[in-house]
Symmetry: C2
Subunit: 290 residues, 2 copies
Amino acid sequence: MNSTNFHIPNLTIIGVGLIGGSLALALKAAGVVGEVVGAGPGGVDLEKALALGIVDRITDDLAASVRQADLVFLATPVLALASVAAVIMPHLKPGAILTDGGSVKGEVVTAIEPLLRPDVEFVPGHPIAGTEKSGAEAAFATLYQNRRCILTPTARTGADALEQVRRMWQAAGCEVVAMEVAKHDRILAAISHLPHMVAYSLVNAVGSDDRYEENILAYSAGGFRDFTRIASSDPTMWRDIALTNREALLEMMERFEKFFAELKEDVRTGDGQAMFEFFLRSKQSRDAIL
Amino acid sequence: MNSTNFHIPNLTIIGVGLIGGSLALALKAAGVVGEVVGAGPGGVDLEKALALGIVDRITDDLAASVRQADLVFLATPVLALASVAAVIMPHLKPGAILTDGGSVKGEVVTAIEPLLRPDVEFVPGHPIAGTEKSGAEAAFATLYQNRRCILTPTARTGADALEQVRRMWQAAGCEVVAMEVAKHDRILAAISHLPHMVAYSLVNAVGSDDRYEENILAYSAGGFRDFTRIASSDPTMWRDIALTNREALLEMMERFEKFFAELKEDVRTGDGQAMFEFFLRSKQSRDAIL
């Protein structure tokens, strides 16, 4: 890799699902990658990834998968990241760069940095992209187009490694932003983790209403379907996120509860003016990001 | 109108916005309507509706607008329906059919039925369709394709009038279902009114987090945008719905709060297994309506 003509001769992706697979496809489409090795415990997904041309070679031997890698992208569920990092650490090339795509950065950084060899770089990252689908067959080359990728360098992160990972995500189509670990986790708790908790709760609340012979969800029109699409997201992934970003998530869940309780009180007392202002304020915030 | 060849010679639509305008366009496309008159207090919207070919004639004189009408469709915000019905009642033709598209049926029926002349029919209805947009310029002919329309006939509703309104919505593309007023209001509280309250609260909760220099909503990816789209819905319309379906809505808001509190407790205690089961149950319900 050099700084004028960005190229990754050997890339290893551990966890070739939607996130890892889409990065491989995007970098291949951009022509900035040599051989892409797919690794991980997911036997079926690896075979699919190979068959779909997402990766060039697969292996379930994590150690072997990284020996030639210039850059290793960890795209497993959040709670598996550190154990994977521990397994591969002795087998990385000197100068190799490790990066990840975990949706939570604080616990990941805390768990991985103590494991790092002095001659290995680690750049914590998080591409803010995804769909409710998961698995290699859900991957597509344009997932990251016009999405933001947040990198959260620490005191341990080398400037050149940061720049390489920044260029990788730019090549994949992202606008790359750097910020502190804690700020990332608070922002994601607000715009992503809280909404998922709300969506899961909403579908369970509505689905628990068993007074009807028919499935009342079948009456739902576009609004409810779009609104609850994220409740189809992978339960394991979201369990890991909720466990690892607990503090920031709890704060946002409590904030949401206060607003919801305020609105419920307006409904209970029939305060139309207060409701109107509540709805209008929300509409204005929402319209501003259209 | 006769039962073999369905046709509405003179249709008046009061409130030519997304709902009223789209019905006019759908019935014109289906070739089942003669002259369509647009009426209501909304001067700008009426001019737009005429310019866009949604209606053939417009007037802000409600009495004049209904004198020739075989069928009158009321598509104003819910709280305006009864006052409009009161104004037009003396001017309807004998045998005219009045119907509405209000999202709440209990209060509408209670308010309108006492106003009815013996020679006028009323068929309460609700097409479950819409977008977060409002106004005549948002109307389109296919809004109702493959949507459900719920009719809530009462003891006062004549069988022939019910059949005519059923055929009108079928011509517009709907699958028509009849059910009791109270059941309609409970189901809609669950699948539509509650989700809107949740979306408005979510956007306000996230938007109130002012610790950041930048607008953190700008970091949001597809999930949050889709999820909060309904928070852009018309505040007046939703104030009216919350005021008129208060009891059923409050019950659902409390049900949602219980589920959300259960999940928050799982997050607080770090109960990964309980979270996983909560998320999985939601995913299974949601996937069943894909």
